[in-house]
Amino acid sequence: MTDAGRHPGIKIHTLSEVVDIKGNVGNFDVKIVKKARYVNEKECTACGDCAQVCPVIRPDEFNLGLSSRRAIYSPFPQAVPSAYVLNANECLGNNPVVCSKCLEACEKKCIDFHMSDETFTEHVGTVVVATGLKPHDPRVLDEYGYTRFENVLTSLEFERLVNAGGPTQGELLRPTDRKQPKKVGFIQCVGSRSARRGKPYCSNTCCMNTVKSTLVLKEHYPDMSVKVFYVDIRAFGKGFEDLYTRSRRQGVHYVRGLPGHVEELPDKSLRVAVENVGTGLLDYYELDMLVLAIGIEPAESTNRLQEMLGLQLTSDGFFLEAHPKLQPVDAATRGIFYAGCAEGPKDIKESVTQASAAAVRAIRLMQSDQITAEAIVSEIDPELCNCCGKCAQVCPYNAITVDPKNKIPAKVATAACAGCGTCAAECRFGAITMNHFTDRQIYDQIDAMLEEGAKEKILTFACNWCSYAGADYAGVSRLQYPPKARVIRTMCSGRVDEDFIWHGFKKGAPIVLVSGCHIGDCHYIDANHWTVKRVEKVRKKMEKKGIRPERLQLEWISAAEGVRFAGVINRMEELRQTVSEKEIAESIALLEK
């Protein structure tokens, strides 16, 4: 922490939030709002004279309310920057009649009530998102009695209590009677691994955090009875099992089963009812203190930042990486990287590893004063553009600007374009050329395919990242399927223009299959949503025209789903066999009308 504070290359803005980010890789303009500290950060020596005279007493956030602080305070002794901060909402104000005691006490005169919030812009090339986590609020699980019973604590509160710098100087005391507890219990998976209450995923750190806490307790108080109520202990990392065994060896009692009920006894002790899964019996334990091993949730700022940067989230609410194995710290948007719990629950070691990886990935781009941009991008001919604005609406990267009101033609910010081709597929005026996957090129592919024996062929569009890769995987796995499909690769299923489908039917295709990444897995954020809309639209039109809509199929196939790809082609072949020569000829006649 202090290294970062002292580093000449790092400019730290505390009490600050990013409110807007514009631009693309290499050139982001970041708008930051820095709240007033009311204390000159550079001048303050953290002597503490101001806090001594401050009459306002408030709960200390750093110690989770287990101790108090003043309205002017230092967040914690090792804070960086090591300057005091004044909470203007709590302060009695700059009124000499009422207070202003701190102003008088500060010898260096670094308290300034006239300080105001600042807004400024920084220009950067890359962004590392390290927004951290939000601890689970265990009040959801009311049976554990958190906040109803004072001696039920969260694991984070426990951390403060056993910390030498904490409110009790590291001595474990019960909140109710300030006495050392003799019997302490830990409940695992609070807010984790439950689809019903809390989150369905494993929070990754709570098992080892509890194991560590039991060892801290056994080290300080060898006679203390320590119990852990758990589902299973996940000691999967390097050295984890060893620590767990050590804890068991030191007499910590691990009880398999989560308590169903906690009640408070007259002396404020707690009685815990738990079904021991090992014995099948309902056991009761009397404990002096109960610690809830709370899970990790996405930080509150996640959604706002996701919208601002156009990022994606997993179903758990954490940031989604570009590729889970090969690009685990990259966002799908180039130049943005993830570090720490922003990407998913993880411990300190993993956070640091990922942070270093993110730094290297960012440096990889920043090492030159120029970067190579994607060549497969779209281009707009302003003379053909009708300024309807549809392309800008469908672009997942906000790379297109257009002004339909003032009839200013659309323009692509080449640096932001990722080359999915959705814009070109949506443009009804032929104004957009998707390089390397142009309309002309794709029509020629369709023509070449259907020139002879069209009836025997399944016109298949596959996106490069998922369904085409899924087809490759079927090959690698030597899955055998009917040799009827002819695949046209596009970068994204969003590239598949309505007219490609019509063209296919006009040329005699019995079946047209459009395939792409599963919804939520699209390599181009959400471009495949437009694929769905387009396919639905075409099917409706087919129905109106009198063409069987089943002849147009949409399938989601991931890169790992070779079996699914083979299955889909089998199904397509069955469907193809239902399409007669006559039906094809009728469709061609209908379409050529």
Binding site: M1, G9, G26, Q78, F240, A342, S351, V360, H436, G475
Partner: protein, 212 residues
């Protein structure tokens, strides 16, 4: 914008050779493709397609001798579009693009037909139908390659400065690593101090030392 499009079109006109000359190579991949698909037959069948100057089977297109053969053809026959019927482009497209660059061509003047993962390996018991499919796939690739235009990867300026959002252990580590490598870092933290949740923890595993 108008100007830049025109200049792009102009530069393309300059780069593109006046006449399209296609070379087609149908890779045997040892027996991976050749035991199911009649590779030389496919090459022969597409030889008559418009603009195809050279069309032949090849043992291993990706191997050094294979690439040399194609490069020689590019030089001898003045080829300016290449079709390779072989494995998936997801595997060897970068390899063959580099080969084009080495031969003095724009790397985007290449089209691959997927004859292995999406043909020979999945239709092993139907050699005739697999060959017919391979023929179609190569024909489609020829149709596309004739329309391909050279593309240029544009260069953009890079600001050698990074923003780190969040001053917890991950943000601090990222900021330090980048700053130690000489890059300017802006670290934004909404709390009055950096440190995040980590700073609140007591002894941390596995060293059991203080987290700060």
């Amino acid at each position: 914008m108008t100007a830049s499009i025109k200049s792009a079109a102009q530069s393309r006109a300059q780069n593109a050779a006046p006449e399209v000359r296609v070379g087609v190579y149908v890779c045997h991949c040892g027996l991976n493709i050749a035991q199911t698909v009649d590779c030389d037959g496919v090459a022969e069948a597409v030889a008559g397609l418009p603009d195809v100057v050279v069309s032949r089977g090849i043992g291993y297109a990706c191997s050094e001798p294979g690439q040399r053969e194609i490069r020689n053809d590019i030089e001898t026959h003045g080829l300016n579009r290449i079709v390779i019927g072989s494995c998936s482009p997801r595997l060897h497209e970068p390899t063959f693009r580099q080969m084009l660059v080495a031969a003095g061509l724009n790397p985007y003047l290449l089209e691959m037909a997927n004859l292995r993962e999406q043909c020979s390996w999945v239709h092993m018991k139907q050699p005739a139908q697999a060959t017919a499919k391979a023929h179609d796939l190569v024909k489609m690739a020829v149709a596309k390659v004739r329309r391909l235009q050279p593309l240029i990867e544009p260069k953009l300026p890079m600001t050698r400065k990074a923003l780190v959002i969040g001053g917890g252990v991950a943000g601090i580590q990222s900021a330090l690593d980048m700053a130690d490598n000489g890059y300017e870092v802006i670290l934004v933290e909404k709390q009055p101090s950096i440190g995040g949740v980590m700073a609140q923890l007591d002894k941390t595993f596995p060293t059991m030392d203080c987290s700060i």
